[in-house]
């Protein structure tokens, strides 16, 4: 009996092992250079979006007709637009719009997708109905469905989020469902069921915790896709209403003067590209880390 551990010792051993495992994951993540680069890129963009309003002397709405379409220079870092507004502060504000939308959509679709995916994996009858609905929704190309929903709801930030949630939830639900189906068949779940554990206990305490990795990875890609689709929607005039600065609106303004003011297209464009690239690298790194079995070339 002496070599048996007390509960306390067991718990401390457990937490120590957990910590070691976490350290290993962190170490592996940092050894993946591309993923590291992606996360640095994202951190810089987030920081810029948060702190730079305190440093720029211009607001994104300040009109100055005398200084219309000034090329990048000392006073206006990225130049001015066709109303004489400072492009740098508009891009930084656009970053905030994009990040809010991307983050909100990633969180809401994860929660909804998790609920739908878990329950349809557990209840066969529900599965048939829910998956047919998601098949139907996934038959629409993402941008097109988003445009159509925005046409009905009207251009507003909240509506962009709603439209993107409708567009992306089915694919999250599918991912969660397929991961949950695998977990559900495992012996320990069967054992729990035999012991009389309730369905919701098994679903939320045992299955849900095991589908988190693929869910988090997918949420990162949805973040990136949301930024792209928001930009496209606003560029087409169906997203964030003018004069609010969003990257898509900036590109729309830029297109009207593309032959005179290259900076109005180039800088917002680079902003979109860098954030999407950063998120994709970050997501790829996360996937390699959390889920080594999936092929790298999937995305």
């Amino acid at each position: 009996m002496q070599n048996l551990l007390t509960t306390e010792q067991l718990n401390s051993l457990k937490s120590e092992m957990k910590k070691k495992h976490r350290d290993l994951l962190v170490k592996r993540f940092f050894s993946n250079k591309l993923a590291l680069f992606g996360s640095i890129l994202m951190t810089v963009i987030v920081l810029l979006a948060i702190i730079s309003p305190f440093f720029t002397s211009f607001t994104p709405y300040e009109l100055d007709p005398v200084k219309r379409l000034q090329p990048p220079g000392a006073e206006h870092f990225f130049g001015t637009d066709n109303y004489g507004r400072d492009l740098f502060s508009r891009i930084v504000n656009g970053a905030r719009v994009s990040l809010i939308i991307g983050f909100a959509v990633a969180i809401i679709t994860s929660i909804l997708g998790m609920i739908i995916g878990l329950y349809s994996a557990y209840y066969k009858k529900l599965d048939g109905v829910l998956m047919r609905i998601s098949d139907g929704l996934m038959a629409f190309p993402a941008i097109l469905l988003a445009i159509a929903i925005m046409a009905s709801l009207g251009p507003r930030l909240e509506n962009v989020i709603i439209a993107l949630v409708i567009v992306f939830t089915p694919s999250v639900a599918r991912t969660v469902r397929s991961a949950a189906l695998v977990v559900k068949e495992q012996t320990y779940v069967e054992a729990l069921r035999a012991q009389g554990a309730s369905a919701s206990r098994i679903i939320w305490l045992n299955i849900a915790t095991n589908v988190l990795s693929p869910l988090i990875v997918q949420a990162t890609f949805i973040f990136a896709d949301s930024i792209i689709i928001e930009a496209a929607l606003s560029f087409l005039g169906a997203g964030i209403p003018a004069p609010d600065p969003s990257w898509g609106n900036l590109l729309y303004d830029g297109k009207t003067v593309i032959f005179n003011a290259w900076w109005m297209t180039l800088f917002p464009g680079i902003a979109i590209m860098l954030s999407v690239f950063g998120l994709n690298l970050f997501g790829d790194g996360l996937r390699d880390l959390l889920d080594p079995h999936t092929t790298k070339a999937k995305k």
Binding site: A148, M150, F235, K255, T265, G269
Partner: protein
Amino acid sequence: MKGYILRRLLSLIPVLFVVAVVVFLLMHITPGDPAAVILGPEASPDEIAELRENLGLNRPVTEQFVSWFGGVLQGDLGNSIFMKQPVLQAFFEHLGPTLSLAIMAQILAIVVAIPLGILAAKFRGSFLDQTFMGISLLGISIPSFLLGLFLILLVGVELKWLPVAGYKPLNDGLWNHIKYLILPAIALGSMQAALIARMTRSSMLDVLNANYIKTARSKGVKESFIVIKHTLRNAFIPILTIIGHTFGTLVAGAAVVETVFNIPGIGQLIINSVERRDFAVIQGSVLLIAVSYVLINLVIDLLYGVIDPRVRLGRK
């Protein structure tokens, strides 16, 4: 094979039904009265009431759906309020440019991506491989409309090599037709090319290590024959899947790219209708695109059966 085709056809019914319900609901999720939204703030209450009556908005929702759906099944997608013509007619008038653009982008993507993917797989880990894959990751990160804008800046404004806006139909001569579509097709096709190249590389890699390839090599079969005949054929299923699944994205992307290059296709039809709140046109176009996406994927699923007999026999 017959049973396989029949099963696939039956499985389409619920999907198409859901598609129809979603498209129908598009008009009904508008906050407020759709008729008032369509006519704008200057409309008189009488005009609104008349339009409500014409659109059948006073009837119960289920009744509206049944009559709308019945019309759709007979090819009646309603009428455009602003263009004063049937939606189907407006759609087909705008289809040419979009289809031309999507096909050209697809061809461009396949012609560039498959050889690159094969080379990358053949010389795995080399400088060539890493360069291709790095570029393709960048290609996935640039949305097509943005690449279009960049191309306009570079090729149109700086180099002045190609026209940056407009469209010439095929009747104006083949070169004229293609000339206006080169930049849009590059913009639209590059993400597609990146996806196909990555998929080609990874599925080629899976097959290149298989035992039967080793056997073929040890028999002394020529390497080029092994790559093209033995490997590519078996690697083709995942490649085909990507091509099929991204076709919808391609058509939708074409809609956005058209706006960048002022091409009068489906995209412009939809965007103009969004501005005018011409719901019938939006509903009809979205429905037609979703249905064709579903049908294209059906064709591709059936092609699997032709390429790989295991598909039609094995799956239940």
